[in-house]
């Protein structure tokens, strides 16, 4: 080698140093340029502060990075990828007026990616020339439907919504909560996501909801699975005491903490979550801290100013409707019981970035009183979310919340609590006895304590790792836990009610320990130009442990001492239940040119059993979509046209005891023959060792379209099919086995869901967005084996699962003709002649549902928001009216009673103690008018054909949400110098919920959804028994941000 000596003689280390100097020196002296510009709203021209601008050398951007992302990169850019710190990449955040500047950019071709929350991503190629100062104007189009947001498409899959292969519902909770004040996440979902129906279980404060997704996949339906930041919550949790309305776990989640809510609507998208996700998944993601100043290499070490937000809200609740004489003659009594319940709430949050840590911390205090006395809730919660860039490519995310909730639960429902129900006692009192209260007076009811306390911790720790040694590999581990302790106390003082003359006390203390684990690995790679693959494998596990300690006693000698042991019959009871689920899954996703998408996967699920053979089942899944707008075949005006199709299976595994026979002991007596005993043996579970998992199939096809970034829609049609449903079938009582789990058939479900949205006006001063949702969901029960139907266990056994009918159909023997005594009077004892076969009379869930929402910003800073929802095809069993009729509290019934001569003291007095109504002509028993009146009277008979007589259509349209908000900051900033630097946010607003209701139902409210004693937790019974009307909630809010 012919080279200078001094070089040859240099030691190896010196070679390296020289090489390094050459390289870095070369870089230092390379031709560089500056890229600057402004990011602005295309319509309004307003600068977008906080928009992120990334400049990546062309060829270094992997399409998989955006298609198969960990999460919404727009929300978490600073902590996202390990490649962000690579030297050749650079980036910035738009600051004042949306301007940005990137210095020291080397010449070359770059891919410019601009992202801003609420706007569609801008991706374009730019060329930076030597010694040039490149100026870019970047107009951004609003993403009104969040199509560019990354949504969860499977247990370990995330995609932009615009390319997702299934219908994913997504609620931008931040934007939503800006305009409207909510008390829990369920309210945020109501009317916002197509295919999802939310029904409150009562108008009382702190009660639960029923969530129905699509047509509910399994034979018995069910609730969707709920995750909060990856922690799995049970959909239905806390026990009821004395028939108080069920309490939902969602009531403890502060809406102000929520960033997004996503809904995976059926097996096609929830398949890989396993059997518990057969009825959909609700994924609630809370807010995270953001580094809005530093973004990429170098800058990420800077800390950003913390963002402090405070919101104060105050208002009241009042009954959204009042009783009228048409509902009950005693309506003034019950209306007098209602009250204006004050409420107030404080929300404080702090978010920002310190070095490698992004943080979000919040506290909430909410205190509200319901529209009934003794109904109130006090909730205190705190949350800390941390994102830590622990090392290059390694991010740790910690989410934690502690909640304290103290609820005074008013008695409103049927069952045992009816005797202490404000509504029942006032409404169903005999109007002619001059009584306001039927079984207990107001002082007595007010003396009852019925409180529910819960202390809860919900937290998750997540590790995301993108190793630098293998580009495209992503590893994720999440551990979630929910622990709670609750105490339900009911104390009925002596003398309150003749049914519990000596008083009673009941304590239910429960604890729950839940743990879930997600492990998954994903590998994405562009295997050839434009063709990207993504492979995922993973495992999930869930451990649930629940314990309940009960102590009841009654007959207290004195109210001075109230402990359980002071009463008689103090009996402790203990319940412990545990179950575990686990699953392993794999999924393969691929796309070509981000235009054609195909995925398929499989999951094997396992569940605990007391039997020897672990229930296990394999579920497949496949889906595909095509972005026709990217094929070049469509006009430019169509900026999105996606066709999608998916098939998946899910199911329901047998529970812990369904495959084996188990026994329990219960308090019981003996006989002189076999000796006295205290506890008797009873069969707890008949068991069925041949039980198989229920299998549910779903096919979904859909289309997403958006035109000119202004008008769009999502349309989905689905078919669900369930086979081998596991049902605890009531065997003939004479067998003695009670209910035996059997695979007895299935159900077909189908439906159509759609959402249309439009961004009609968009100027600096005015903005109008409209959104409409229309859903249709139906189902038919298939053959269910030898047992012709399954009655649900409501008070009258009126809902059935019957082949050929909708799930939970109301059935009854219809009255055909009245019967008359020999003297011609109506035969009250015999009642009407009933049909010999039951007739299907109505459905518990609506056939059609929908909503219409409008958000109108005017005068630049004022926003008016309104949402209407409604439903068609639902029936309500008005047992309130039936009970009222029995005590003479039904105006029309009393008139007919008088006309027919059956009232008190009349010729054919039937002993109802109802006096003759004034002004009503008494008809001759032989007259045709009498027969005609008898026909009408027959259909009000409260004893025979009750369901036929008191089932009513309950279609409704409700003006659900209205709000008005004034963002004061711009105005004040223009008036007060320096104001804008002091306050980031200043706004006031008013929100009104349940503004008005229009319905053909004669009762007080169409929304009552108590689960009662039905075999599944999901199926609504739609039975009105002293239902509490939904409250109208008026709240004023003040938002301040620093």
């Amino acid at each position: 080698m012919n080279c200078p000596k001094y070089i040859v003689r240099m030691p190896l280390l010196a070679h390296c140093v020289l090489l390094l100097l050459l390289v870095t020196g070369g870089a230092a002296f390379a031709q560089i340029a500056t890229v600057q510009g402004r990011v602005a709203d295309k319509q309004t021209g307003e600068g977008l502060i906080g928009a992120s601008i990334m400049l990546s050398p062309r060829g270094s951007v992997r399409s998989s990075e955006y298609v198969y992302a960990f999460e919404d990169m727009r929300l978490t850019m600073p902590v996202l990828t390990g490649n962000d710190t690579q030297a050749q990449r650079t980036g910035a955040v738009a600051l004042k007026n949306g301007t940005f500047e990137l210095k020291n950019v080397r010449a070359g071709d770059y891919v410019l990616t601009v992202r801003s929350i609420g706007y569609k991503n801008v991706v374009k190629v730019v060329t930076v020339s030597t010694d040039q100062s490149l100026t870019l104007e970047i107009p951004m189009v609003q993403d009104i439907q969040g199509m560019d947001a990354v949504v969860v498409t499977g247990v370990a899959s995330r995609m932009q919504k615009s390319v997702a292969e299934t219908a994913i519902g997504r609620v931008d909770a931040v934007t939503l909560a800006e305009n409207m004040k909510f008390s829990d996440p369920a309210q945020m979902l109501l009317g916002k996501v197509s295919g999802v129906n939310i029904a409150p279980s009562s108008g009382a404060v702190g009660t639960g909801v029923r969530i129905t997704v699509r047509s509910s996949a399994g034979l018995l339906g069910g609730q969707p699975m709920i995750f909060l930041d990856g922690t799995r919550l049970l959909s239905v949790d806390y026990y009821k005491v004395f028939e108080v309305d069920e309490i939902s776990p969602l009531i403890n989640i502060s809406p102000e903490d929520i960033a997004t809510i996503e809904v995976l609507k059926g097996p096609t998208s929830s398949c890989l979550y396993g059997t518990s996700g057969q009825n959909g998944i609700v994924l609630i993601t809370t807010k995270r801290g953001q580094n809005v100043r530093g973004l990429l290499s170098g800058a990420s070490t800077l800390s950003s100013d913390p963002i402090f937000r405070y919101q104060y809200s105050a208002g009241w609740q009042e009954p959204s409707r009042l009783y009228t004489e048409d509902i009950a003659l005693t309506s003034p009594s019950v209306n007098r019981v209602f009250r204006h319940g004050p409420l107030q709430q404080h929300d404080v949050s702090l978010s920002g970035n310190v070095g490698v840590v992004n943080y979000y911390a919040s506290m909430e205090y909410r205190k509200e009183q319901g529209i009934l006395p003794k109904n109130a809730m006090e909730r205190i919660s705190g949350r800390v979310n941390l994102d830590i860039i622990a090392a290059k490519g390694l991010t740790a995310k910690i989410s934690s919340a502690i909640i304290y909730n103290n609820t005074d639960a008013a008695f409103t429902a049927d069952g045992g609590g009816q005797y202490y129900s404000w509504i029942r006692n006032t409404l169903t009192a005999n109007p002619f006895a001059n009584k306001q209260f039927s079984t207990a007076d107001s002082l007595a009811i007010a003396s009852i304590d019925n409180t529910f306390n819960i202390d809860q911790f919900i937290g998750s720790a997540e590790l995301l790792y993108t190793p630098v040694f293998l580009e495209g590999l992503r590893l994720r581990m999440l551990v979630g836990t929910e622990n709670n302790r609750s105490r339900f106390l009911t104390y009925v003082p002596s003398g309150t009610s003749p049914f519990l003359a000596g008083g009673a006390r009941s304590i239910r203390s429960s604890y729950a320990r839940r743990f879930n684990l997600d492990l998954n690995a994903a590998y994405s790679r562009e295997i050839m130009e434009g063709w990207t693959i993504n492979a995922i494998v993973g495992a999930q596990a869930f451990d649930n442990h629940f314990g309940l300690d009960i102590a009841n006693s009654s007959n207290f000698l004195t109210p001075l001492v109230q402990t359980v042991q002071s009463g008689q019959g103090a009996v402790p009871a203990e319940t412990v239940s545990s179950f575990r689920e686990a699953g392993i899954f794999g999924r393969f996703e691929t796309n070509y040119l981000q235009t054609y998408f195909l995925s398929f996967g499989v999951r094997n699920d396992f569940a605990s059993t007391l039997g020897s053979e672990v229930p296990s089942i394999l579920y497949p899944q496949a889906s595909a979509s095509v972005r026709l707008d990217k094929t070049g075949l469509l006009p430019d005006a169509i900026n999105l046209l996606k066709l999608r199709a998916a098939y998946a299976e899910s199911g329901r595994l047998p529970t812990l005891t369904q495959s084996s026979r188990t026994w329990k002991l219960y308090y019981g007596g003996g006989s002189s023959l076999t000796g006295p005993v205290i506890n008797q043996l009873y069969l707890d579970n008949a068991g069925n060792s041949a039980i198989r998992p229920e299998r549910i199939q779903e096919v979904e096809i859909g289309m997403d379209i958006e035109v000119s970034n202004v008008v769009g829609g999502e349309f989905t049609y689905y078919i669900q099919n369930s086979r081998d449903a596991i049902v605890d079938v009531q065997t003939p009582s004479s067998v003695g086995l009670g209910q035996v789990p059997q695979n007895i058939g299935g159900i077909n479900g189908w439906g159509f869901e759609s959402q249309i949205y439009a961004h009609i006006v968009s100027t600096a001063d005015e903005d109008l967005q409209l959104s409409a949702i229309f859903n249709y969901a139906d189902n038919r029960v298939l053959n269910i084996g030898k047992n012709s139907f399954i009655p649900f266990g409501n008070p009258l056994n009126t809902n059935y699962i019957l082949p050929g009918f909708r799930r939970g159909v109301f059935m009854d023997f219809v009255p055909l003709r009245p019967n008359f005594l020999a003297n011609g009077y109506y035969d009250w004892q015999k009642g009407p002649t009933l049909d010999t076969v039951r007739t299907a009379l109505g459905s518990t869930v609506p056939l059609y549902t929908g909503s219409l929402a409008a958000t109108f910003r005017f005068l630049h800073d004022c926003t008016l928001y309104a949402m209407i929802d409604g439903g068609l095809g639902k029936s309500m069993l008005n047992l309130t009216r039936q009970e009222n009729t029995l005590v003479g509290n039904n105006k029309r019934f009393n008139q007919l009673l008088t006309a027919l001569g059956l009232a008190k003291g009349q010729a054919a007095d039937i002993g109802l103690e109802v006096p003759a109504a004034s002004g009503v002509a008494v008809l001759s028993p032989t007259s045709p008018e009498y027969r005609s009146a008898a026909e009408e009277f027959m259909h009000l008979d409260p004893r025979r054909g009750v369901v036929a007589n008191y089932l009513e259509r309950a279609d409704w349209v409700r003006l659900r949400e209205v709000s008005l908000r004034w963002n004061m900051r711009p105005t004040l900033a223009s008036l007060i110098p320096g104001f804008s630097t002091t306050l980031r946010e200043l706004a006031i607003g008013i929100s009104v919920r349940n503004v008005a209701l229009w319905t053909n139902y004669s009762g007080i409210d169409t929304e009552y959804n108590s689960p009662g004693n039905i075999p599944s937790e999901a199926q609504a019974q739609s039975t009105d028994r002293w239902v509490l009307v939904q409250p109208r909630v008026v709240q004023f809010t003040l938002n301040i941000g620093f």
Partner: protein, 421 residues
């Protein structure tokens, strides 16, 4: 090339191993769940030490069944009636329906289920006998006796107290077709006879024979009734009673005690008024009903005045009265009188009142009266009303009032062999 094939197989094997490991891990994880502490595995009951628990299942359900069923039957019969206005406690609608003879079919879901559970538990006990290792043969015999006896008892109750329609008595076994009373009673007799093969004491033998005698009485087989009754319970024998667990509220006192509105027919007070010593077997309490500014006394049963008052299923007194009735029918009034007076002499003395006077003559009517008094508030009165076609329902209900407890709606709903209504 070989290396690549080897590598491929190695990767395949590794993947297979990982999948197998994952499956095994999942199975292991889900089965590591904490076992319930409040349930008993079925096979754990195949143990001699668990016999008291197995017996308790039978007797517990029998008690739960008869506590309410006896009240329903007494209200359905002319023995008790529902009234209003004597207290503030409402009468449960179910009792009003039984009083009117028109119970809804679903009203008996619970009691029908309890009675059927007695049969199920008894059969379950018999099924376990071959699986249990007995240390003493007497325990095995007791199992057989208790099992067959209770199956027979259930069948007797199906036949005697239940019906598919207002006038057609009988029951159902194991979800099968309706079995009329006489046929059901034949099955009961067969099982009582099986129980007799396993009796361990004379008392058990006599107890079985008393039930057999009642079956023959109801089926109109006089000779067989007399024969069995003579082998049945005798004076001094304890009744077969259903025992309440401590602190459980007594159904009778809770619904037909003081301040409640289910009261005995007026004639029972008349009986006591005529013969104060009758209070020993017709215990009554007096209450005061405020009606229109005045107080009207009313009488309620006081037989079950304590929470733990047991309910008798059969007594030696009933057996003696069966003998007396059969003797009268056999024209042996003198012998019958002995039995009647044996019963009267044994009536519990009421403090301060002379013992119940003995009768000098007897006949069928007086025995029927003795039965009414002796069987007061036991639910058995309806058997005599049916035997002697002695009904109290108004003419409008002459054809529709139930003479039985209706086989429940739930059974009709779930049993494809039965008509729905």
């Amino acid at each position: 090339m070989v290396d690549r094939i080897f590598l491929l197989h190695t990767v395949k094997a590794l993947c297979g191993f990982l999948v197998a490991l994952s499956v095994w891990s999942c199975q292991d994880f889900v089965q590591g769940v904490q076992k319930p502490i409040n349930t008993i595995n079925d096979t754990d009951l195949n143990d001699e030490a668990q016999l008291p628990i197995l017996f308790a299942g039978i007797s517990g359900y029998l008690g739960q069944y008869w506590r309410f069923a006896s009240m329903y039957l007494s209200t359905l019969s002319d023995e008790f009636r529902t009234v209003e206005g004597i207290s503030q406690n409402n009468v449960l609608p179910i009792f009003r329906e039984f009083d009117n003879g028109t119970p809804l079919l679903e009203r008996t879901d619970r009691e029908w289920g309890y009675l059927s559970s007695v049969r199920f538990h008894a059969q379950d006990l018999l099924d376990r006998v071959p699986k249990i290792r007995f240390s003493q043969d007497s325990n095995r015999l007791k199992c057989l006796f208790v099992g067959y006896f209770h199956i027979a008892l259930v069948q007797h109750h199906y036949a005697a107290f239940w019906g598919i329609s207002p006038r057609q008595g009988g029951g159902v076994l194991l979800g099968g077709p309706f079995i009329p009373s006489s046929q059901m009673h034949d099955s009961a007799l067969a099982n009582f006879n099986r129980a007799l093969l396993s009796v361990r004491t004379d008392y058990e033998r006599r107890l079985v024979n008393s039930f057999i005698a009642r079956i023959h009485l109801l089926e109109g087989r006089k000779k067989e009734c007399l024969t069995s009754a003579r082998l049945g319970l005798r004076e001094g024998d304890a009744p077969m009673s259903l025992l309440y667990p401590p602190t459980t509220q007594n159904v009778w006192s809770d619904n037909a005690g003081l301040n409640h509105q289910i009261i005995p027919a007026d004639r029972f007070h008349d009986y006591v008024k005529a013969e104060p010593a009758e209070a020993g077997r017709i215990p009554l309490s007096v209450g005061n009903a405020p009606v229109a500014n005045r107080i009207i006394p009313y009488y309620v049963q006081a037989k079950y005045d304590a929470d733990v008052s047991p309910i008798d299923l059969i007594t030696w007194e009933e057996t003696s009265l069966m003998i007396a009735e059969m003797l009268v029918l056999d024209n042996d009034a003198a012998a019958a009188l002995v039995e009647v007076n044996r019963v009267r002499a044994a009536v519990r003395r009421v403090p301060g009142i002379a013992a119940l006077a003995l009768r000098s003559t007897t006949n069928l009517d007086s025995i029927r009266l003795e039965r009414q008094k002796q069987l007061f508030a036991t639910g058995l009165r309806i058997l005599d009303q049916r035997r002697f076609n002695d009904w109290h329902f108004p003419p409008s209900l002459a054809n529709t009032a139930w003479y039985y407890l209706p086989i429940s709606q739930r059974e009709r709903n779930s049993n494809p062999n039965l008509p729905p209504n």
